[in-house]
């Protein structure tokens, strides 16, 4: 990147419009930059603007819409705008949480893309002083029949395992879905949360003129140059392979040392503030710290330890080399900071100082190569609101379920097994067995259930996490789909007994410059907003990922909702497994089930059409409150949400869970132990009258496999039913059967619909590895 005589080519040379356009800026934006800078910017300045004003860093298309979200509440200690949101969970403890996408890097290089996605989100958590204690991942791929999709899945899961396991952070849950729309643009949304004392929160605000600016961690190299603008803010086309150099390479060993060193620095109060280097590297971290602190920062780029000696200042400023942190340190404490870093074998270098100039100034061997007003860089980034257009494919009415279009299967038991084996429903054990889900000794409920449950050591308290989004539903109706995703995330928490308290989101959409995509985005935000308000779960942090398109084809709109739930007493928690012969099976939320957007519609009829049902939010809130009350009073033995595959799949899963939980995948049930009988438990279920259940054609298949929100299957010991009824009160619910035998039997209108041995349901449910061979 240097001229033959060795002088840096771009240092202090002024840029021009052509260069700006090449970096992804528009003519208007370039004019605005010239106005702020009072003339043509230098190359270094232009590089900084291009990154900070990229979609990824500036949220220019999403900011005007995101203002709809509720973001505050009595428990919320930190809402959006920091590295992570923070929620008070009681006894002086708080949870910091955030989710972030690493879609495009993972599509280009799945292993490192996913690994560095984990590394980045974990840094967001410990930057604030919280010890990361939970990881989860929401993943989307194309259909597994495609070899490339299997390659991507294998690489992404391997990368998450490689990085997360090494850090010693349990990956306790997540979700994986397969739809053709993600074929050219997989989704990798990494979630992390940490525990922190409420009085120990550190924010990324520079202060104290004369304080040192210190860079801790890895050396800076040319990896990930321009990741934020090249990868995250453009659609994919045939140049995908050429973008591989923009993917960073992770070193989890260094990150592990960085966690220990940084938490020690924060706990010993040796730093004024701290910020991790993520997208746009030193550029974004330094400009955000200075603008938030209303101070200036002088950065001496020539003092940054490098992997390649001939790097130029603009490259140093935008490099996305991983495992680096920026800290503000006083003169008195710098020696202690150096000592801690030395002990953990980490580089620690003073690269600048806090000034009263309010300018972000970059120096190169004593020469000033950039001089930018920090607040204007941060605050005056462009805002764009694309006029939205309702897409032509969106319909207002549900499909008509005719025998011609939707012939009812002859063998409903076979249909159930087919659904249990469908990749979107089948057990993801193949993936979560590659994750250490138990390190840190807090895991109460392992992956494979509705939500992950953890305890807080030294207290009775606990917390739970879920993440949800059905992209197919959001495609058919982004407003209802996003609302349903939020409701389901909360319902999954309620099924464990946890009280949902806050949301972090990862909003994955196509190109926001297109009216149809912008319409999907606006609709989804509206749906999420209404659900968050109704369920009292403010949005505390999140991430927007646009341009998820390849060759002009957008992904399904995928507003992933990650939700935190809390327990005052975690020992009340329950899971979805049937526990004992004779327990009564009750369906809470007895609502009509729909064909539209269901897994049944996709798997059996190869169709995605219609309009999904709307969530009745007051009913949802009531159901969750009564469910929680019943669990708190220890009236229930199990609870499991009805989602993909409807009531029949929910029942089948409860049966399968009875003999399987974390052990090897074998045909035999696992050894008996607390809460597990050591055998497959079946059930006899009577769905009543078809007409009453489906409200329409009277088709039993719809009653079994149709989908509707706000439904939960619970079990209760016979002698507790009366007490449970008192708690449920006027909430719609129905006793549908009891736990018995080793088969799942369903009848309707006094006719047997099917009887399937649980061992066969288990084999179908655990069949995912066969599709990966």
């Amino acid at each position: 990147m240097s001229t033959p005589d060795g002088t840096p080519r771009y240092v202090n040379r002024t840029a021009d419009l052509a260069a700006a356009v090449k970096l992804g800026l528009t003519e208007d934006e370039y004019e605005h930059i010239k106005q702020i800078q009072g003339g043509e910017p230098t190359y270094v300045e232009l590089a900084i603007y291009s990154l900070m004003w990229s979609e990824h860093c500036s949220y220019k298309h999403s900011r005007p819409v995101l203002g709809r979200f509720p973001t505050s509440g009595p428990r919320i200690l930190q809402g959006p705008g920091e590295n992570a949101g923070i929620i008070d969970v009681g006894d002086g403890w708080a949870v910091a949480m955030k989710v972030e996408s690493h879609n495009h890097p993972s599509a280009v290089e799945p292993f490192q893309g996913a690994a560095t996605g984990v590394g980045g989100i974990v840094r967001d958590i410990f930057t604030m002083g919280a010890r990361p204690c939970v990881s989860m991942d929401s993943l989307r791929f194309g259909e597994l029949t495609e070899p490339r999709q299997r390659f991507l899945l294998d690489g992404v899961v391997g990368g998450i395992a490689h990085y997360g396991n090494c850090l010693g952070i349990p990956t306790v849950g997540g979700e994986i879905y397969f739809e053709p729309s993600y074929e050219g643009n997989c989704l990798v949304n990494a979630f992390s949360a940490g525990l922190i004392r409420t009085d120990g929160i550190v924010r990324a605000i520079a202060s104290g003129v004369g304080n040192h600016v210190v860079l801790i961690g890895s050396k800076t190299g040319r990896d990930g140059i321009g990741g934020a603008s090249v990868l995250a803010s453009q659609e994919f086309d045939e140049t995908l392979e050429e973008k591989r150099p923009s993917v960073q390479v992770g070193d989890p060993f260094t990150e592990k040392k960085l966690i220990e060193a940084c938490l020690e620095l924060i706990h010993r109060k040796l730093v004024v503030s701290m910020q991790d280097l993520g997208a746009a590297g030193l550029t974004s971290s330094s400009s955000e710290m200075s603008s938030k602190g209303h101070v200036g920062l002088d950065i001496h780029a020539d003092r940054v330890p490098l992997r390649e000696a001939d790097m130029e200042p603009w490259e140093i400023m935008i490099s996305e080399s991983q495992e680096r942190m920026l800290a503000i340190v006083t003169g008195e404490q710098i020696a202690d900071v150096l000592e801690v870093s030395e002990r953990w074998d980490l580089d620690c270098t003073v690269i600048g100082e806090v000034t009263d100039s309010k300018m972000l100034r970059i120096w190169w061997h004593g020469e000033r190569v950039a001089d930018i007003p920090a607040r204007r860089l941060a605050d005056e980034s462009p805002v764009i609101r694309t006029p939205s257009v309702k897409p032509a494919y969106v319909v207002d009415e549900p499909v008509e379920v005719t025998d011609a279009e939707y012939p009812q299967p002859q063998d409903l038991g076979a249909a159930l097994k087919e659904l249990m084996a469908a990749p979107n429903i089948a057990s993801k054990r193949w993936a979560w067995e590659q994750y250490d889900y138990i390190v840190q000794a807090n895991t109460v409920q392992i992956p494979g259930s509705d939500a992950a449950v953890l305890r807080i050591k030294g207290t009775d308290r606990g917390f739970a996490f879920s993440n949800d989004c059905n992209g197919r539903h959001c495609y058919l109706d982004p407003y209802r789909g996003a609302k349903a995703a939020t409701a389901e995330a909360a319902r999954n928490l309620a099924c464990t007994g946890a009280l949902p308290v806050a949301v972090t989101d990862c909003l994955n959409f196509g190109n926001p410059e297109k009216g149809e995509i912008y319409w999907q985005f606006e609709q989804a935000i509206e749906g999420m907003t209404e659900a968050c308000e109704a369920l009292d779960t403010p949005v505390v942090s999140g991430n927007v990922s646009f341009y998820n398109e390849s060759f002009g084809q957008a992904i399904y709109p995928t507003p992933m909702v990650g939700m935190l739930g809390i327990f005052d007493n975690v020992s009340v928690h329950i899971d979805g497994a049937f526990k004992d012969e004779g327990d009564v099976v009750i369906l809470l939320g007895d609502t009509a089930a729909w064909m539209d957007g269901s897994e049944y519609q996709k798997v059996l009829f190869s169709k995605v059409e219609g309009r999904i049902p709307d969530v009745d939010l007051p009913l949802e809130a009531t159901l969750q409150a009564r469910l929680r009350e019943a669990i708190e009073k220890r009236l229930l033995k199990s609870a499991h949400d009805c989602s993909e595959g409807g009531l029949a799949v929910a029942l089948a899963e409860c049966c399968v869970f009875s003999g399987s939980n974390g052990g090897a995948q074998t045909a035999e049930p696992e050894a008996p132990r607390a809460g597990r009988s050591g055998r497959w438990l079946g059930a006899e279920v009577d769905l009543g009258s078809a007409e009453a259940v489906t409200g329409a054609a009277g088709r039993p298949d719809l009653a079994l496999f149709g989908e509707a929100p706000t439904r939960v299957v619970v079990t209760c010991a016979p002698d507790k039913v009366a007490e449970l009824e008192a708690v449920l009160g006027d909430l719609s619910h129905r006793t549908v059967g009891r736990v018995t035998g080793a088969d799942l039997r369903c009848t309707m209108d006094a006719k047997e619909l099917f009887a399937v041995p649980v061992s066969e349901l288990h084999s179908a449910y655990e069949s995912l590895p066969e599709r990966l061979a």
Binding site: P252, D436, I438, Q440, G662, G663, A664, P669
Partner: protein
């Protein structure tokens, strides 16, 4: 018994180790036990009564698991401690380090599935005649989690024969019924071996993680207490006779 001074057990911390905290916590769930971190750059064992080398990814598992850690200053002190008959237990990466340091026989290579595996396994206690399994009966089946990439135990045939003669195979992977069976072994280990001890029986290494199975209210259950409990009993016995 009169209240004795707390038993002090060292937990060695290498960079990249990640169950040091869990092991410390697990040991201190036993009344009268105090866990003491031992830093890898030190040589002072702080007078601890026994030592546990916990699991994780020392030095990122770069080069080969345990291969760099074994050159840490603390390892010479641990080798001397073991030579004097001190009790040393290595868990997962700790097991790998003890093998690299020559304190245990054999080698741990890549899982046959070529993937990291985190799973509950059933372990059968093959001998109660070690200070780490003395509170078990031979044949007891314990449910404990494994989580590793390189847990595939292997050893040369001559040493293997000697180990069998000397009763050095301490735990094996079995099915829920306590039988050796296909599918029970998570990593392809020779002869379903999950843990071994040295000839003098004072150094023990195992791939599964007993430190994540000490509290019944957690997902991991409490079967791991048997290993730590045995070690603690043995150390208390030694104190009484000393």
């Amino acid at each position: 018994m009169t209240a004795a001074a707390p038993l002090r057990i060292g937990v060695v911390v290498f960079p990249g180790i990640n169950t040091d905290g869990d092991t410390h916590h697990a040991l201190e769930t036993f009344p009268g036990v105090s866990a003491e971190y031992l830093w890898h750059k030190d040589t002072d064992l702080k007078g601890v009564d026994g030592i546990v080398i916990p699991g994780g990814f020392s030095y990122g598992d770069y080069l080969r698991c345990g291969a760099i850690a074994r050159f840490s200053p603390i390892m010479q002190s641990i080798t001397d401690f073991a030579a004097d008959g001190g009790l040393v237990m290595g868990i997962c990466n700790g097991f790998q380090i003890l093998i690299e340091a020559g304190l245990l026989p054999g080698g741990l290579i890549r899982n046959t599935g070529l993937k990291f595996v985190c799973r509950y396994v059933n372990l059968r206690v093959e001998t109660a005649a070690t200070p780490f399994t003395s509170t078990c009966e031979q044949g007891d089946v314990l449910r404990i989690v494994v989580k590793h990439n390189e847990g595939n135990y292997t050893v040369d045939p001559a040493t293997f024969e000697k180990m069998k003669t000397n009763d050095q195979i301490v735990v094996r992977y079995v099915n829920a019924a306590g039988e050796r069976a296909e599918g029970a072994n998570p990593n392809g280990a020779l002869d379903d071996i999950a843990g071994v001890c040295n000839e003098t029986r004072n150094v023990f290494g195992m791939m599964p993680h007993p430190e994540n199975s000490v509290e019944a209210e957690l997902a991991g259950g409490a079967d791991g207490r048997r290993f730590f409990g045995s070690m603690i009993d043995a150390l208390r016995g030694a104190e009484v006779t000393a």
